[in-house]
Symmetry: D2
């Protein structure tokens, strides 16, 4: 009864181009990171647009997108000075988008923050002020007055896309004297290291040099689903804020203290003191015990985060079933065997964490520990 | 007309455990590597078993599996001395499995090689002799006589799984004086650095120290589909042989010259002089030109191989849309942006290739070059 | 070397609920149907909303969505009388959304049609007038005047969602005397049998009884991607228009002649004379010849359409490798064996086409023919 | 910051050919059917081969495959008279394959049954005797003696592939006078309606006419994974036995009573009295209540079986969100809306079940009932 039933029709090979996201994410589009020992890990997007400046959706859609992405916090940051829809939407109140978004969010878990984008050419460039009280007074002739007003309202202001090729043809982030002065006066406290589909090593260097808070934002104008290819496993860039509580006040306090990481593609960018605890909370080592009467130990690393981790073994121990590179997809576990040479009761493994960046080209080392079931 | 139509039934989260293979492979189970500038890249499995020793399938199935995996070459290597099915299959001819497999392969593209596994306890351990003329005379009381007979037949002999925990409780590959003497006499020419689901850094060190050919094999006993989870994107371990022609003679010449790489999980293990040309043939850099009037260059790396490449940028240039880690799935292309600071006519990017191993913990550096479309 | 490497962590079973779409669609979100022998099969959505009435996106997004869905034609049909965003967008011109959409579409292949939704309570209910010249004069106190104005502008008007549970608690489509009078006067020419996520057998009966053109529309207010679960293989409901040319005039002529089918889920709803040629163009029978020396014929049906076809064999011939039900996914081919009892030179197979509806519970029969390769 | 980052490399379209299985099966390869009110639904394969006749695997592999498929029962049925491997495996005991398989199964949940295939040319053709005590005495010169011996051992014998094109060029199942005499004498009790990749309407007619038990088997010779494309969601054909207990005796009693269904592709073939309870146990109707203040009822049908159900509504009620065809994937639920015209406290829906066959072209009707949450 053996017979070939199948007709070979034409098969062609497809060669997909991956630009933004290298891997599909298990568990859908909700962006999930574990809390650290000390802080909540809140997922925040501090830079978005709606039809009330140059975006293409009603502010309510921004709230719906944030719900779908599982965000904890969203800032509404319309351009103050750039209003291409002004003829259709001549609303005089620069808080209007916030009001609609806040009403849409209602009693949900999403914190909606009032903000504005101060939109200037160089030397000031663009900057977002968030946690402000009223966007209207920020609309000033003189950029300095706008920054001062934001500061006087208790806002937190960060520099937007300092690597923007419309203002920097070489894509290199630089700070102008005017910006440095604002930093010195405390009127600028952060800088976007990640904006939309870009990452800037130089912005990271500036953040480290001037102790600016590291920010990652979507700067979304169109649809999040399209811009970040959600259907194919992509996600919007966000700032992970390490906060004591899930409140607007606590988020602001964390931003002012610099307790953040930018999350973009599968990369986490942050100061080592804040991003390393997140790695430790994300990668959970456990051991299932020795194999038979050998000194080869079976262990598992569970990745409970949304980032695809790529780590390189720098332990004293070598592995029995693979070389030194481990790739651990989000919300997956990887099981492997370690040659411990003697029977031990606990195990510590050290890895260079290559998808985590603490300075340009610098990746932190993490030590994962487990007791061994006897 | 808006209404929620969906009923939320129970959704549970699954947490898959990845042990063998981290990534799904595009393009099905056929294992594909590009030829290098100088050699063909032939996919070979030099260690398999059938019902004629302690395997569980008829030899014809090994040929069918090899066809499905797209192998160029398969060696039939039944245990000479270990014959658990002997009561059911009392065939006196140790070449019988080869004969059946060779007849099954017939005029197909698959090269089937005659071999045998010399199956001893330590200090000799297990070894495969391939390219022999007749397996029967290798069945000797004295292991030394078996090795000598294989050599006299023109065979190429390599050490099997020197890290085998049944013979090495710590999984550490070591060579006994008797084995070293065989190496010195030229009766052993290779060593398995990869066997089945194991990889051995120490076997790699021994290969480098004693100039042994690096071998990776499946040592399959059951079904390839099950053991290597083909349906989930896994593949059997193989030896990639860099041969001048697709002939048995050319494959043997390559093995004797040490021109191989072991391919296991997504890792390529080999001597730098042979594995680096394979990397260069696998990763193709091209440039789509500068973005607008900027000095930011869009480039693409196409991975035309079966291995998932993980590379780290060590170029003089930084990227505009990501940090330094690139993950390039098999048979996919990754597009990204490079800040070249000035407008150039060609581009060279250097990467540490982390999924390629030339010594324990050592990864080669590759330079990829492209001219820039103006 | 055999050993279990895998640790069984917890696996849970998920039970997805399918409400809208039963199957994933190959080939991405572009909705594709073959032309028939006589007409082009144009994919059209004649009912959409933007922020200029009660939708939540800028009109440009509707054009982007249409491009992604591969639509041939899109009508802009804001509510005339229902303007919940009027305080924010006090634009006096009811053509404004059309103007923006038409400018976005520009010179692309997408035909953008001017339209308006006349939005009344019963007995008039809602209706769309498309192909009008100017939406503003349709804004009348008396509904009759609005219909008359649309007619005087050369518009084509169809009844919207006659099954709408806000106006019909039982979901049963009915026509009021006032609507019947408009039909009689030629001021209503069509009826939505499919609207958003609903299908109405009774609307289909009314279309057949009063010779109204069968219309299927999305009536989209939010995002097409979300409402129709594009990422999971869903699609928006559309009207397939059988037109002589891809022009606005030709589409209008087809609508006035009743040459349409509604496409919703995997179902095609239409008058038999128009939908049957589409089935014949969608399902291509071919034969690969008889198997060996038997009278069993291997044939293939290729489905070149976007709909998942479910057909039941009512031929004189029975099948050798399956019972009478065939399920043919979009853009796939199904190969099977037919017992023809004697060797033939051609073959004709008849099927009841269960996913095509020509009247409530009525499915057309199609005969597929092929010559047999000898 | 808006810019197209993606380079469109070549995309080609693939057109897969589906021959065996139309749909992917959720929940992996384990074949699962619910028990009926009265019986256990046991999954059984009564026709397999190993290297001990003309198969290509050791009998242990058949047990491993059965475990992976989640079978309850497996019969070992080597050809008695056809022994192409006899020179390699000259074992004189025709029970040897059974002995190995039974030892492999050990104390597992899998019931392994002793059997043999009586392998003759017409008029006897092939037949399987299972539940025999000793295969050796069945090896007789005269086919009649073989059947008589099987009967005397208490075996249950069924006709194999009466539609086999090697014996019936037209693929039409027919019974010869000799077979009819054996049926009359009670020495044949069943008939394969499904064998390997074939289904026979005429075999079904013969089963109904002569009251033979309906059998579906794999008749596997190679690998189940390959022959039934397990990786792509296929499954082996089986017989579902409606037994009182999971014991060999209870299975034999069910076969003798004709309590079976053949499961092949997504089709269930059986006598209505036995297959209809399985449908009722597989499709679970529930109601989530009326939508708002309407008389439109939201209901869900959960398919807890392994078969993809295709059903056609023949209820008094019509649906609000679809036409009359429902496609319910295995281990999925479909939610839809029913227009009940008045508010009810319970609901009954009737469907023609198109993937269930009780006679050629005949599909049973099932009534699903639920109470409505108020």
């Amino acid at each position: 009864m053996k017979r070939i039933l199948f007709v070979a029709l034409a098969w062609f090979i497809s060669l997909p181009v991956l630009a933004q996201h290298d891997h599909e994410h298990a568990g859908g589009r909700v962006i999930t990171f574990p809390d650290t020992d000390q802080y909540l890990s809140l997922t925040c997007d501090f830079h978005i647009h709606s039809v009330f400046s140059d975006g293409s959706v009603w502010p309510s859609v921004r709230v719906d997108e944030a719900h779908r992405d599982g965000l904890d916090c969203l800032a509404i940051t319309e351009h103050l000075e750039y209003q291409p829809h002004i003829d259709d939407i001549p609303h005089p109140d620069r808080n209007r988008a916030y009001d609609i978004a806040a009403r849409t969010a209602g009693e949900s878990d999403l914190i909606v923050i009032r903000g504005s984008e101060i939109t200037r050419s160089l030397p000031y460039g663009h900057a977002n002020s968030i946690f402000i009280q009223d966007a209207n007074p920020l609309l000033q002739d003189d950029a300095e007055d706008a920054y001062a007003e934001a500061a006087s309202q208790g806002g937190f202001t960060f520099i937007n896309h300092p690597n923007w090729t419309s203002q920097r043809k070489d894509g290199i982030a630089r700070l102008e004297p005017e910006q440095l002065a604002l930093i010195e006066r405390g009127e600028i406290g952060g800088i976007e290291v990640v904006n939309d589909l870009t990452f800037s090593d130089e912005a990271l260097e500036l953040a480290l040099k001037y102790d600016l808070t590291i920010i990652g934002t979507s700067d979304i104008h169109g649809l999040v689903d399209w811009q970040y290819e959600i259907a194919d496993g992509g996600h919007r860039p966000i700032t992970i804020v390490f906060a004591e509580e899930k409140t607007q006040e606590s988020i602001q306090a964390a931003l002012e203290a610099g307790r953040t990481a930018a999350y973009y593609l599968d990369t986490l960018v942050g100061k080592e003191e804040y991003v390393l605890p997140l790695v430790e909370a994300s990668l959970l080592l456990s051991s299932q015990g020795y194999i038979g009467d050998t000194t080869v130990l079976n262990v598992t690393i569970e990745n409970v985060s949304d980032a695809w981790f790529t780590v390189k073994n720098v332990s004293d121990y070598r592995f029995h079933d693979r070389a030194d590179l481990l790739s651990i997809p989000p919300h997956h576990a990887v099981s492997f065997d370690v040659k411990t040479l003697e029977r031990r009761t606990d195990i510590s493994l050290s890895f260079d964490v290559l998808n985590v960046v603490t300075a340009p080209g610098v990746h932190p080392q993490v030590a994962l520990r487990a007791t061994i079931e006897q």
